[in-house]
């Protein structure tokens, strides 16, 4: 028997432990050739299981007892596996001479019994390892929650992308020209008042159309897009907008819109109706109905407000729809020829070809408030929650 030393454990992480114990297990297998003879068997036993100088005892002293408390389990488990392996080796070799003397019938008999015992042991083991309560909560894996506004906005955009609309974006700080002038707002329109619009400071020295303000709607992107692209075009424009509104349960100085624009030859009011009816069905479900009311926006004519049949009561009337069966959802209309003319005029100013010939080209535009739709969809009662960053609120959408 050669001298041996127990090396220091290089680490306690599972891969190191596995590696070290596997080395030992390999040595057990290697040395088990000694078990063929009675002397050899005794030497093997003393070598591994000797009370004072047996290797297991030394391993226990060097590795198990010195292990930090939180690692004792990991070392101990592997230690026990090694011990079982050694004992099994010795046991089998003890039985060998007896087995050799047995008749075939006796062998079969013992074999059956052994299988039976093995099965029982297995059953015991399975029972011992049974998870006592699978209804206990799982180990928490926190995932982030999509913001309800971002989610709603993306859903709306997807509906229109499937209808051939490309996404258009624009700046949140706009000039009066894009936000009002080109959209056919008269110079004295109330929306231009600082009571309604947040303006950037120190604009007085600039010409009116260049004065900067927080865009009050996503509609200026219509103008920017038409200046960049010749017809035909189909755009869906999601974005953040601002108004000079004091915050309350239904108003926020910051809110979101999705705007749409479709321009081509022979785009008609019935196309507008069909498009929005289709989109609302795609978004809210195929049973939703739409109806159109005359309205007024400076940049569309004819202009309309669109109502959908109440998504909560199916149009029978409930508290959510104020018992009307209908919910007002968006504004829309045929692009006012004055808007095309403003784009043409601007193109000429920029030294470009005017390409929106109102005799040939027509179009429609629509816009909706994302906040209101999200609030309706998810039953949110206070718009302020959308802008609070409150985890308790946001995590509901995970």
């Amino acid at each position: 028997m050669t001298e041996y030393i127990i090396p220091k454990l290089p680490g306690y992480d599972s891969s190191t432990l596995d590696a070290e114990f596997q080395k030992l297990a390999a040595q057990v297998e290697e040395e088990s050739v000694m078990l063929a003879t009675d002397d050899g068997r005794e030497a093997f036993r003393l070598h591994w299981l000797g009370r004072k100088q047996g290797r297991l005892k030394l391993i226990s002293d060097a590795w198990l007892k010195t292990a930090p408390n939180d690692k004792k389990g990991a070392v101990g488990q592997r230690f026990n596996e090694l011990k079982v392996q050694i004992e099994a080796r010795i046991g089998v070799s003890k039985l060998r001479p007896i087995v050799d003397r047995l008749s075939q019938v006796e062998k079969e008999h013992f074999k059956t019994q052994a299988i039976e015992i093995h099965r029982e042991k297995q059953t015991e083991l399975v029972e011992a390892r049974r998870i006592r309560d699978i209804t206990l909560p799982g180990v928490a894996q926190r995932i982030g929650a999509e913001h309800p506004l971002i989610r709603t906005m993306a859903e709306i955009v997807t509906v229109f992308e499937r209808m051939g609309y490309s996404v258009g974006l624009g700046p949140e700080v706009e000039s009066d020209f894009y936000n009002f002038e080109a959209l056919n707002f008269p110079p004295n329109h109330p929306a231009r008042d600082t009571q309604d619009t947040l303006v950037v400071a120190g604009q007085d020295a600039k010409p009116g159309r260049d004065r900067l303000l927080m865009r009050t709607h996503t509609s200026p992107v219509q103008i920017r897009s038409m200046l960049d692209q010749a017809p035909p075009l189909r755009l869906v424009i999601p974005g953040k907008v601002h108004r000079n509104d004091a915050a309350d349960a239904t108003h926020s100085p910051v809110f979101h819109q999705v705007e749409g624009l479709c321009v081509d030859t022979n785009i008609t009011f019935s196309d507008l109706k069909g498009t929005l009816d289709h989109a609302m069905k795609a978004f809210f479900g195929s049973s939703v109905k739409t109806r159109f009311f005359p309205s007024f926006f400076p940049f569309t004519e004819p202009s309309a407000d669109v109502q959908i049949s109440c998504i909560f009561c199916g149009g029978n009337g409930c508290r959510k729809c104020k018992h009307s069966g209908w919910i007002e959802l968006l504004g829309c209309g045929m692009v006012d020829p004055a808007v095309f003319e403003a784009v043409n005029k601007r193109s000429i100013e920029l030294g470009r070809e005017p390409v929106y010939d109102t005799r040939r080209i027509s179009g429609f535009a629509f816009g909706m408030g994302v906040d209101r739709i999200a609030m309706m969809k998810y039953g949110i009662s206070d718009i302020g929650l959308l802008y609070s960053g409150d985890m308790r609120f946001l995590e509901q959408f995970a």
Partner: protein, 706 residues
């Protein structure tokens, strides 16, 4: 605004429908009835919501006109009824009226009624007013209000005996005083238009009458006035003096040029009815022809029925003839009927079929162009009688250039457990200074909602810190948030917009073999940044240089992609914590999202998986604190051992007592993995490589532990 159905029916003797049906049909035509309430005088009170462009319909006769168009029924002409000329009981030359400001006042009518007795109104006025909730004042004043409610023509009654000489419509003298009906003293400017007598201003034209010339209980003789004023002048006077009245509302949106005489007759008739007396002399009606030509007499416009079809499209009543020709449900009969009922005069053009020269009604100054008439046709015909069609489309759907990057950012952060938040676009000047970059600048809002919202946010970190505080103050234990939004720099002359991104974390972060409990939160945020930035192409590195003041000293770092800074992160400084009354540490990261959006995403490439076993070797070293992991990693990488798969720190230990490890040093367990794609590694080469690693680590000032 309120409308009585019984009053409407007075103008619509043949109206065939119930009040409810009428309300619904008006609503579907844009004359929205928001509520229907029963009244004591029979019929219903409609609560109306009429769009601002339709001032002509904000009165009973205007609504009745809409109903007449919808049902094609007779509308009783006002000039035959209440507005019919009132005969004079006594003749005279008429009251002297002179329009001096001929660019601002287009028409002025005046009528004298003598011998009145001012008393409360009775009869129809009192009945209607009580149903409408209109406050009664006195017979003559209520007569003017009745005229307003009936036909939307503002009128005024003067106490005739307070006037000195005839009336003059003129610009005010700069500094001229005038006490108005609301009792306030006003100082006028030369831009205000007034109605004056020979000596003094009497009323602010189109806005409000004067106090001194008002009709009182003792008034005996009255002058009834109805006029047409330029919308712009009324608007600017109304603004200048902060007076928004029914009259100014109508005039500034354009009154009916032809309504003044009818309105004057109507009010005169009601004054006689309510206060007795007699009309004296003729109705004085001074007209400025230039303004008449611009309004009531404006040019006809051409309407083409094929343009109506081009813009409006298919109706549910379209039909197809045997020869395949499509006939719109919106045919010429319908077009003519609708527009005529609205007061247009259609003259078919002889040269071209289906074209009309249309004379526009004087009360509809909002109608100016062909498209305005097309809208009227669609509106009265009924929007819901148009079909739902879908336009053909052959174009492609274009992706926004940065859509992929934006999606990658959201996807990664959500998966890492960060919830998306949206904070205010505005911050206080103090916050803008603390979080912004002075060189990049920031822009102020001219009319902020509050002092706390005076600036456009130059950084998302301040809003993030505020949201973390919001949660911690509400006892939310664990907060992980991100915001992807716009930040604004530059100046008020030119505002620059960039995409910004902030991450925020507070509460529960676990210590590890590498990070102490105290550092864990910062390293968790760093880990999130590493995962996020790994989605983008480029070589990622970190240092702790040029950190902003909102990061606590020595508690943060900076991330660079290909050597260019892309993010800063760290614990919130003591000042910022104090500003938000925070006691618990928070970690915030601010990412230059714009730099990420314009950077390509990392393209994953696949590598052959080795069939051969990987071998781990651990190296335990003590290093001085000055040696950073990034230097160790670089040094090991430079060894050029192609089989070296990875080197990573596994455990760090510092001894606060300086016993096991000297103060100013730390022990580090480095795990190196070797693997070959072609063969099983031999003990010899492993030994050789290990020696080289050890040598490299020693070269950095490390000493190997026994």
């Amino acid at each position: 605004m309120n409308i009585l159905s019984s009053w409407l029916r007075a103008y619509l003797p043949e109206l065939p429908v119930s009040d409810e049906q009428l309300a619904e049909n008006l609503t579907l035509r844009g004359i929205a009835v928001e509520g229907i309430f029963p009244t004591a005088c029979g019929g219903a009170r409609f609560e109306m919501d009429i769009t601002t462009n339709r001032v002509d319909a904000m009165n009973h006769y205007g609504v009745a006109r809409e109903a007449a168009a919808i049902y094609s029924v007779q509308l009783a002409p006002l000039s035959d009824g209440m507005g019919a000329p009132v005969d004079a009981a006594r003749e005279d030359a008429g009251f002297p009226v002179r329009i001096e400001a001929r660019d601002l006042c287009g028409r002025f009518t005046a009528r004298v009624v003598r011998g009145v007795t001012v008393r409360p109104a009775t009869g129809l006025i009192s009945e209607y007013f009580s149903a409408l909730g209109q406050k009664p004042i006195s017979g003559p004043v209520d007569a003017t209000n009745f005229g307003w409610l009936a036909m939307g023509q503002p009128t005024h009654v003067f106490d005739l005996d307070t006037l000195e000489g005839g009336l003059v419509v003129r610009r005010a003298h700069a500094g001229e005083p005038l006490r108005l009906l609301d009792g306030t003293e006003r100082t006028l400017t030369a831009d205000d238009l007034v109605i004056a007598d020979e000596n003094k201003a009497l009323s602010l034209a189109g806005v409000m009458g004067g106090w001194d010339s008002r009709v009182t209980e003792t008034t005996k003789n009255i002058l009834v006035e109805a006029a047409w004023f330029n919308p712009g002048t009324v608007r600017s006077s109304s603004r200048r003096h902060g007076l928004h009245t029914d009259a100014s509302h109508r005039f500034e949106r354009g009154a009916d040029f032809n309504a003044a005489p009818v309105g004057n007759h109507l009010v005169t008739r009601m004054v006689l009815e309510q206060a007795g007396g007699e009309a004296v002399g003729p109705l004085v009606d001074v007209v400025v022809p230039e303004l008449a030509a611009k309004t009531a007499g404006r040019e006809r416009i051409i309407l083409r029925s094929r343009e109506i079809q081009r813009i409006l499209g298919t109706t549910l009543e379209d039909s197809v003839l045997e020869d395949g020709q499509r006939v719109s449900g919106l045919n010429e009969t319908v077009i003519e009927q609708v527009l005529t009922a609205l007061g247009c005069e259609l003259e078919p053009m002889t040269a071209v079929a289906g074209e009309y020269a249309v004379r526009l009604p004087s009360w509809r100054l909002d109608l100016e162009r062909e498209i305005d008439l097309i809208e009227e046709v669609a509106r009265v015909y009924g929007y819901n009688r148009f079909a739902d069609t879908l336009p053909a489309w052959a174009g492609a759907v274009l992706k926004q250039p940065h859509a992929e990057q934006e999606r990658a950012i959201r996807e990664t952060l959500l998966a890492l457990g960060y919830s998306e938040a949206i904070s205010s676009t505005f911050v206080s000047a103090e916050e803008a200074a603390a979080f912004g970059d002075a060189k990049a600048g920031a822009a102020a809002i001219g009319n902020p909602l509050s002092e706390e919202a005076g600036m456009l946010r130059p950084s998302l970190a301040s809003g993030m810190a505020t949201m973390l505080a919001h949660n911690l103050h509400r006892d939310v234990a664990t907060v992980r948030l991100f915001e992807l939004g716009t930040v604004f720099t530059g100046s008020t002359a030119e505002v620059c917009e960039h995409a910004g991104l902030a991450l925020g974390a507070a509460g529960s972060a676990a210590a590890s073999a590498l990070h102490s409990k105290d550092d864990a939160l910062v390293f968790e945020v760093k880990g999130a940044l590493e995962s996020l930035l790994a989605r983008f192409s480029g070589t990622l590195s970190f240092d702790a240089k040029s950190l902003p003041a909102w990061i606590a000293p020595g508690r943060g770092g900076r991330a660079l992609l290909d050597g260019a800074p892309v993010a800063v992160f760290g614990e919130l400084s003591a000042d910022e914590m104090q500003r938000r009354k925070l006691r618990q540490t928070c970690a915030v990261a601010e990412v230059l999202a714009q730099a990420l959006l314009t950077r390509p995403l990392r393209q994953p490439t696949s590598r052959e998986l080795s069939r051969f076993q990987a071998v781990e070797r651990d190296f335990s070293f003590v290093f001085p604190d000055t040696v950073r992991w990034q230097a160790i990693e670089t040094m090991v990488g430079r060894l050029g051992i192609s089989e070296l798969r990875s080197a990573r720190p596994v455990e760090i230990f510092r001894d606060p007592k300086g016993k096991a490890i000297a103060a100013g040093s730390y022990s580090l367990l480095v795990r190196v993995v070797f693997q070959s794609g072609e063969r099983t590694l031999s003990e010899e080469e492993l030994t050789l490589w290990s020696a080289r690693v050890i040598e490299a680590l020693r070269g950095l000032g490390g000493s190997q532990r026994a």
